[in-house]
């Protein structure tokens, strides 16, 4: 007989190994996992937060979670629920996640309160972001829309490489 805590820790360990299909980062490090609920009959319900609502990876992530967690011996069934509150932000990305993203040329805005958007718009970060390849601050926004919904494309004028930056969304 496995304890409640034992099952939960197995579920979390499984989740920590599930990568985001489009980023070099697990869904746990990306901050997508909001809650794991386990009932007495060992049914698991996992609450996830979407990064961007239009992200085509969401269905793949939900499929991976239900399949892999559902396959655990002591789990009877696994369901996934996407919720919008609290809203996902880049602040949810763990230090481990940031490190992994950075190693692959993806920068993440620093933790901290969002710059107030007085005119109702969220400024895209256009100030110099330190280049993840060479550290130079001589960088600029190349394209505010990137390979996925959640990233912009930046360019470093010193090492002449592109890199990507996770978009920061406003919070209230």
């Amino acid at each position: 007989m496995v304890s409640h805590e034992g099952i939960l820790s197995a579920v979390y360990a499984t989740l920590a190994d599930i990568p985001d299909p489009e980023l070099p980062c697990s869904i746990v490090d990306l901050g997508l996992v909001e809650a794991v609920d386990l009932d007495a009959a060992c049914n698991v319900n996992i609450t996830l937060l979407p990064t961007f609502t239009g992200c085509p990876a969401l269905d793949m992530i939900a499929d991976d979670v239900t399949r892999l967690v559902g396959a655990l011996d002591m789990v009877e069934s696994c369901t996934v629920q996407w919720v919008f509150a609290p809203p996902w932000t880049t602040d949810r990305i763990t230090d481990n996640g940031r490190k992994s993203l950075r190693a692959h040329g993806v920068t993440v805005p620093e933790h901290g309160p969002m710059q107030p958007a007085g005119d109702g718009t969220t400024p895209l970060r256009t100030s110099a972001i330190p280049c993840p390849w060479c550290g130079s601050a001589n960088t600029r926004l190349e394209s505010p829309f990137g390979p996925t919904r959640c990233r912009t494309i930046q360019y470093c004028d010193d090492c002449q490489n592109t890199f990507e930056d996770m978009k920061r969304l406003s919070e209230e």
Binding site: G54, G120, T121, T122, F145
Partner: protein
């Protein structure tokens, strides 16, 4: 009454539908530009925003679907033509003139922002949470689009002329955004908020950008009983776009992939 009619008779649902249908059709129409953007970055941006719009429409349809007991895809694809609440500005043909497509999107994005702001204050917590998320994502569109307007305004004459011409074209149709969407509840409550207040907030925000960029656009608030797309009397170009959008669904109902 069917569940669909329950939804269509509900004043709150009509405002949500107006916004969701605008985004659905705009996302569909804007998809025509994929691969054809004037520069690579704009091509990516235009396609990304179209993708966002479709997903934002889905998020709103899912909310209505859960509330009224209707599948979100049925709401999106299987309503009668007269039950689509989008204004016909969103399907206005752009003839592949990027200036027209750009201004059309810019005007709709500026309208979506104050509408979403109002919906984030809804008593319906699920709707409020969804709209808070959509508002943040639409803000990224607005920032991008306003930036283009400023860049074009400070650019050479050809671009300035083409954008001002497009603004003049869109101004002839922009009022229809404010058509009251419900056929039977044609009073101020049908829009869930003060109509003049919304109109002023929307046009003021656009005028701030236009003034800075050196462009102009003026159009009046249409009469309360103005009748058009939002009340189901759609222009031929809506019918064409709707037929194209629903082609697969009609050919193979229930298809999945």
């Amino acid at each position: 009454m069917t569940t669909m009619q329950n939804m269509l008779k509900n004043p709150d649902a009509n405002l949500v539908l107006a916004l969701a249908d605008d985004l659905l059709m705009l996302g569909h129409v804007q998809g025509d530009w994929t691969g054809l953007g004037p520069i690579l970055e704009e091509d990516i941006a235009s396609s990304s925003m179209a993708q966002d719009d479709l997903s934002h429409a889905l998020v709103l349809y899912e909310h209505l679907g859960a509330h009224f007991g209707i599948d979100a895809d049925v709401i999106a694809y299987e309503r009668d033509i007269a039950d689509y609440r989008c204004c016909d500005l969103v399907t206005l043909p752009d003839e592949f003139d990027w200036a027209v497509a750009f201004v059309r999107r810019w005007v709709i994005s500026h309208w979506a922002a104050p509408v979403l702001d109002r919906l984030t204050k809804s008593d319906d917590q699920d709707l409020a949470e969804r709209c808070l998320r959509l508002r943040a994502e639409q803000s990224l569109h607005l920032t991008y689009l306003d930036d283009w307007m400023h860049r074009l305004g400070s650019g050479p004459d050809e671009g300035r002329t083409r954008i001002q011409t497009a603004l003049d074209t869109i101004a002839e149709h922009a009022g229809m955004v404010m058509e009251v969407p419900d056929r039977d509840l044609a009073d101020i409550e049908a829009f869930c908020c003060g109509r003049e207040e919304l109109f002023n907030e929307w046009t003021t925000a656009m005028n701030v950008v236009l003034e800075h960029a050196g462009f102009t656009m003026t159009f009046p608030l249409p009469a309360l009983d103005a009748f058009g797309g939002r009340r189901g009397t759609h222009a031929p170009h809506f019918h064409e776009q709707h037929a194209e959008m629903t082609e697969v669904r009609c050919a193979d109902p229930g298809a999945t992939w």
